[in-house]
Symmetry: C2
């Protein structure tokens, strides 16, 4: 890193900006503060000439309304807090974009924080947002229990859970049906004629992994009666590319040899693809591969990766919608909106074998 200065490094301008209040504007326009406020909030009830004079004064003074005062007086904060586990995870950013697109048309500004799975940081953020009097919070809870959120509940701060079901009916929530997703992927392979598949799963401590496994098992049960099919489950310690690469030997060691692999997420699948390429195993001819999450780069690989897409953007939009309902509708009732995952079939599992 290099730090460079142009010329004689001029001191930052000294004429300090003195905050312009509604009172300054009133003085310049030669009216009372009440009138200025009216021009700002109900322009219709003030005479044309006066209105113009005030607007000119606003311009010439560079007045910017102080939201805190407005809010203190009883106005809304027009702010919503979003708390996710990890901002750099595309799933969360897509969700954020969805929420943003819905909320910004209503004039809201979003506060974003990522907890990195830390319950303590989560508590801090939630508290800070409450202090800022956000009108609502969208959150992916870090902890299994929802202890950090009990305050929100009792204080009546509208809250929507992201990709997480409420224990009782305490909050609204938006979720994706991971059981169905697992089922979809497995069924796709069976439909394509694979009778012997491998399911590479992550730690079952993660709810998503548990659910996806359950979906796979469901698909197996549904077919097991009619035909002779089988699914071998392999488990890895983490959902990473490396772990996917390392599990390849175990996959190939299975006998009779499997003809398809389903991975609990795209990173695992990517690792598997690399491992297979290194060993000269062709995809999908020798072995079909399916992932989960539909990360953007999966579609850019060759062969492009079949995967299960989660409608992250729509999750965000819907969460925002639920929040708005809770904010504005006095008859609001909490509910869970569950989304269906979608199988995106691409070359890595296309039935050209």
């Amino acid at each position: 890193m290099s730090s460079k200065r142009n010329g004689p490094a001029p001191k930052v301008e000294t004429k300090a900006w003195v905050p312009v209040t509604i009172r300054d504007v009133a003085k310049v326009a030669g009216v009372s503060t009440g009138t200025v406020s009216n021009v700002l909030n109900r322009p219709d009830i003030v005479a044309g000439a006066t209105r113009q004079r005030v607007l000119d004064a606003v311009d010439s003074t560079g007045f910017i309304r102080n939201t805190q005062a407005y809010q203190l007086r009883g106005g809304r904060s027009h702010t919503v807090g979003v708390v996710v586990l990890d901002v750099s995870n595309p799933f969360f950013t897509e969700m954020f974009r969805g929420a943003e697109s819905r909320l910004q048309s209503e004039g809201y500004v979003l506060m974003l924080a990522s907890t990195d799975d830390s319950i303590e940081r989560e508590a801090n953020f939630v508290r800070a947002m409450e202090e800022h009097r956000v009108e609502g919070i969208l959150i992916t809870p870090a902890a299994a229990d929802l202890a950090n959120l009990s305050g929100l509940k009792t204080r009546g701060v509208p809250t929507v859970l992201l990709d997480r079901k409420a224990t009782a009916d305490e909050f609204c929530s938006v979720t994706v049906d991971d059981i169905r997703g697992g089922e979809l992927a497995a069924r796709h392979l069976f439909d394509a004629g694979h009778a012997n598949i491998v399911f590479v799963n992550g730690p079952t401590a993660i709810r998503q992994c548990r659910d996806r496994r359950q979906g796979v098992r469901k698909a197996v049960r549904a077919r097991a009666k009619a035909s002779s099919i089988e699914a071998t489950e392999l488990s890895v310690a983490a959902l990473t590319v490396r772990h996917g690469e390392e599990v390849v030997d175990r996959i190939l060691a299975i006998s009779p040899r499997a003809t398809a692999v389903m991975c609990a997420n795209d990173l695992l699948a990517l690792g598997v693809l690399r491992g297979l390429a290194q060993r000269g195993v062709r995809v999908p001819e020798d072995l079909a591969v399916v992932g989960y999450d539909d990360l953007i780069f999966g579609s850019m690989l060759s062969p492009a990766l079949t995967s299960v897409r989660q409608p992250a953007f729509e999750l965000g939009v819907t969460a925002a919608q639920l929040l708005l309902d809770e904010v504005h509708n006095p008859d609001h009732r909490h509910r869970e909106v569950r989304f269906e995952p979608e199988l995106v079939v691409r070359a890595s599992s296309s039935s050209s074998h």
Copy 2:
């Protein structure tokens, strides 16, 4: 999407939460509001027994300090605004994480907004953040000129430009030396023995594309005297995978045939890789490929993609640091901190040919 309700859909709890003020706490604790405020802000000056009584009252009432009132009275907002072009771009989210990591240890909360290149939306966000009295703004300006930011300047809102140099010394800024990045990539290929390379560039209306091209040309000039080398420039309309895929035929049509391709970003490179794979051209044996940006998935490809890494996280940290300096240090002077890009050599250009 399916909407499901459990049981008899209980109406949301009716006992509306009445906001607890410092006055309520004072009443419960049997002290004055001044004392409560002291307990909250300067606990040391209040007697132990009283302090405890107040703290108990805070707990039992569930009091949460109202930041607006605090702020109105002259306190700081502990809020920083971040405005980027696109939240779903990993470069920006990494930068955001960097800024977050630096600022959250100082107790700040971040407001995030993405403009999607719209000057109008940018103006709205900046205005909203000013109304919220953010203590500073980190921004990637959408427009070529900085008209949207002139208000920030005159009103003295600390502002740091992200990946963009200030025209004069109006603001602090953090940038990455794209000229150097282009030079690094091209030089790497020349060093590896390639004498005839192709540079696939995007629209030169984009500053980054202009700069990277300039870097490539610089590398060419530096070598042209000593040996006979050449760089053919191809231009595509957008920095996407598809455009990369489509440019492959033009690359292969060049005669004498080039031995290496440098792309203005990783998406282009990815498209090129796909196009080459489809035509049976081996990488790096027949043709070496280099990208730019070092997107995470580049490392997961096989062959893994050589690329130029931009220290996005560090950019964010530094931007935050500059902002904090401008906020706290009365002797603050604006400056540009320029980061060096880093070449990450991987299999797609490794000299095993």
